[in-house]
Symmetry: C2
Subunit: 326 residues, 2 copies
């Protein structure tokens, strides 16, 4: 493949001049520019981005460490973040950690050695001590010391769910969700605010004995089997808020299997926006996250890193989606 040197020789100019032409930098006489551009076209010269990365010490790549892009909401996030970064001229590298801390650490190391421009981090693991201050990081839904973060307004989401259920006449509420804070106490997850907002609003309204069903963090897709049993135990529950739509879907199925009608007997509200389950007859009433807005915030923050502007944490509004389950 032709290099800048070949172009320079062929055009009878120095390589610095060719560099100025392709980068529109410095002074270049009009005729010289035209001559060089002609040769570039002839030789089909394309600047080698690796060499460029070499001198710039960065490579135009943003990495996204994510547990599992199979989870629909995460898949959407990847999609929109990719779109957004494309606009800014960045490329997106997707790194699936499968929630494994070891894989996250391998990736962080690798990404640093590859001089990626930034890393977007979505993890529940306690990796604070391994985060390199020199690597521009943005965290989604989790707070780490000194790392700017983006999150949906989970607390408001919890309130919204509680408000809706209570106003719909529910008297006995239940929350079902993974214990994202599990063993790793130092990680503050935004997600836990869903539970918090829900609980606090219910308490304010005099519902003090909301049943809290927690289970260890899994793969985001299936809930542990014994949860099904716990749903059965509480026949008096008439309003359930689930940490995600995927969980809500499972819960609805389980309830109906047990002969309870949704939403007549029990109302179920999920979280994420109900998009995933809209096709099969029944759609899920849900607190929606806006992946596009989240992606835009991430794009802006990465750009702020690039421009060396100050970076402020972003809380993205949620919305209410009225489906068939509540």
């Amino acid at each position: 493949m032709a290099s800048i040197k070949d172009v320079a020789k062929q055009a009878g100019v120095g390589i610095a001049t060719v560099s100025r032409v392709i980068n529109y930098s410095g002074y270049v006489k009009k005729e010289t520019r035209e001559k060089v551009e002609k040769v570039i076209a002839e030789l089909e010269f394309k600047p080698n981005e690796i060499a460029r990365s070499m001198t710039k010490q960065k490579n135009g790549i943003v990495a996204f460490i994510i547990p599992n892009s199979t989870h629909l909401f995460f898949g959407e996030l990847v999609h929109f973040v990719e779109q957004e970064l494309f606009e800014y001229g960045y490329k997106l590298m997707v790194c699936n950690s499968s929630e494994k801390i070891e894989k996250e650490l391998v990736y962080l190391e690798m990404l640093k050695n590859n001089r990626v421009d930034a890393v977007v981090l979505l993890t529940n693991n306690d990796i604070e001590d391994y985060l390199d201050k020199k690597l521009p990081l943005i965290s989604f839904d989790r707070r780490f010391k000194d790392v700017p973060y983006v999150a949906s307004d989970n607390y408001a989401g919890g309130i919204m769910a509680a408000k809706y259920l209570i106003e719909s006449g529910c008297k006995n509420l239940m929350f079902i969700g993974d214990d994202a804070q599990g063993e790793t106490t130092s990680v503050i997850t935004e997600v836990s605010n869903r539970r918090l907002g829900f609980m606090e609003f219910a308490k304010d309204k005099g519902l003090t004995d909301v049943i809290n069903v927690e289970y260890p963090l899994g793969d985001y897709v299936k809930i542990p089997y014994d949860i099904h049993k716990r749903i059965g135990e509480h026949v008096d529950v008439d309003g359930i808020f689930c940490i995600s739509d995927a969980v809500a879907a499972e819960v609805v199925t389980e309830l109906e299997k047990r002969g309870r009608k949704v939403p007549e007997d029990v109302k179920v509200v999920g979280f994420d926006g109900g998009r995933s389950f809209i096709n099969l007859g029944k759609s899920i009433t849900s607190i929606g996250q806006n992946p596009k807005k989240i992606a835009e915030a991430i794009g802006k923050m990465i750009n702020a890193y690039y421009e060396k502007e100050p970076i402020t944490n972003q809380i993205i509004p949620i919305y209410f989606f009225k489906g068939d389950t509540a």
Copy 2:
């Protein structure tokens, strides 16, 4: 950050020796190795991968150009391909084309300039003329001249669906799917074999007037609205094969809205494996694709490129998933 030069100076050896140490290449005396490794640890030296890419003229990155990772099957594919490549030591860059040919071409150009090691291509567009022979390519589900490809056995899938429906007693069959061959005649899509296998098997069994509902290729997620009308027109149809589970889910919803019971009155078979819709009470009977096996095949082919071994096209077996809709 410490460079190989710093290590060399500190350890009192030449840079070539340090290089040999970190790459386990050439001859290095045991004591020298230990001395160098000690300094490497002290300075926390990590080889700069960009510089390495510079000399190697490749960067350890495989790119995956995909229409839309939001589509569940594609999301799964990304997930498994990423896992597989991780094993081989490659990183995965995900490029969402949104089915837009312009974006695909921009990406192809960019990836070439970035000297990625290989590109996995998933597209319906007619980009054959733009494919660079020097760039190692692997195509999924589409055949391009001189490009090795991986595909599920779509033809067998079509047969399997027809066989099942006919053996279940269906007399009036329908196929619903996008016209993946649309305007772009030169692209041979594997997906069109789903229709073909279905039609041919039905014909063999004497069902010659299978209704073929085609619509222009969209975003893989929603089918055009007028298709709903066409479903309504054919009240005698008792067996429908859909090009994907997403379409099947829409079709089931539409049928039930029109008062037809699934699977009693009409049986519906989807394609992809029924995983996407298993949560909401009714699961979809489906011809399954195996994303893990596909990913493994892709991994092997990329490795074959690397090892300069011959590469053979791969057809991945499909399987039958018995759900509630047929």
